[in-house]
Symmetry: C2
Subunit: 240 residues, 2 copies
Amino acid sequence: MPNYMVRISFVGTRYSGWQIQPDVPTVQGELVKAVSTVFGEEVRVTGCCRTDAGVHAKDYVASFRTTRDLAEFKVLRGLNSLLPKDIGVREVRKVDDSFNARYSVKGKLYVYRIWNAESRDPFLYPFSWHVPKSLSREAMEEAVRVLSGKHDFSGFAKLEEEDRETIIDLDISLNFKENLIELSFRATHFLRYMVRRLTGAIVWVGQGRLSATELKDYLSGKNFPFTAPSQGLTLERVFL
Amino acid sequence: MPNYMVRISFVGTRYSGWQIQPDVPTVQGELVKAVSTVFGEEVRVTGCCRTDAGVHAKDYVASFRTTRDLAEFKVLRGLNSLLPKDIGVREVRKVDDSFNARYSVKGKLYVYRIWNAESRDPFLYPFSWHVPKSLSREAMEEAVRVLSGKHDFSGFAKLEEEDRETIIDLDISLNFKENLIELSFRATHFLRYMVRRLTGAIVWVGQGRLSATELKDYLSGKNFPFTAPSQGLTLERVFL
């Protein structure tokens, strides 16, 4: 049975996240439909991770096994002609039997974008969180220093039954491009809501609502209460 | 009577262009509604030009006169809180009485974006024309050389009763950024469909469907028959 890896990208605005659910549009749902049509058989598609409703991906990895053997370029063309315009397949590759999108991923890079200006940018609006009042760069940089490194991030997560390791070595960087602030988060794995809650905390520090010292409480048991909106979050890169 | 200039930007996907029309969403329609609400009076808004349905603007200039006198920052805030998310007001300025968006504009820069790759980019899709097959850069550069400069562009326009000068000094430049091709057009004024038809012609030359020499026929009377799709076109800058 051939084993295929696909790299896709999607604008998440219209979707209730990656994972297939009845009666709502999901990225997995669209991909299963397109892959099954191209191969003429029912195919199960495995994704590298869940994503929250409204989150985007410039890079996302999925895999599936089929009984039929089709050339990679034919699968690429077939999928792109069937998928909605807000999902694009960037690469299709036959991989060896051991590959599984869920378990073969070595790390991920998320970018959270904040538009920090009084007036709105309609082009960035669907891909950023609009924070009109000016944020303190110095305070945000201090917050990033506190949160970077190896910590127990359960205070920034909604823990789920699956119980992944909550101690994570996290690399955060902060980039200011005029009114656009980009927070990049890189780690081997992430907990649910972790990036959006860490972003919320860093913005609170930038607003003076929370001190960088108080932030430490959330690394030792306390639960951070605010989750930044999903539309600002993009899965930027998946490392295999 | 105070005279206001506003610079806005909009994602044109949802709109039947700038100009107000009954029963369809237009950018002018939305702006008239918001301005009239902010000032509590019926206000007529003049735009710097028409735009085709689906065309975007990163910069667009409009102007209006009111009886009430409100501070610029209050108008900016009020408009941004009332307008839909795909229209943003970037600047509001009181200008002297002689200013009129239609007649005070000295030039415009349009950019037409082409995504030239087999696979689709869902993030660029709404802002570009997807041309899957590879285009010849050399041929396109030659076409740009033929079309640049002072010519009668009526062969690339749908002429309208208003009869603006059809001899235009046009500056075109071509930029390749990996799979993204950007065609920039700068002139004092443009004719209807001119940028989209010139783009169509340059792409035809890039595809080998038309030679650069044959292009010249369209600068001397012949009508070019193809108009590139509107979603790839953005009014990038208005010069005052």
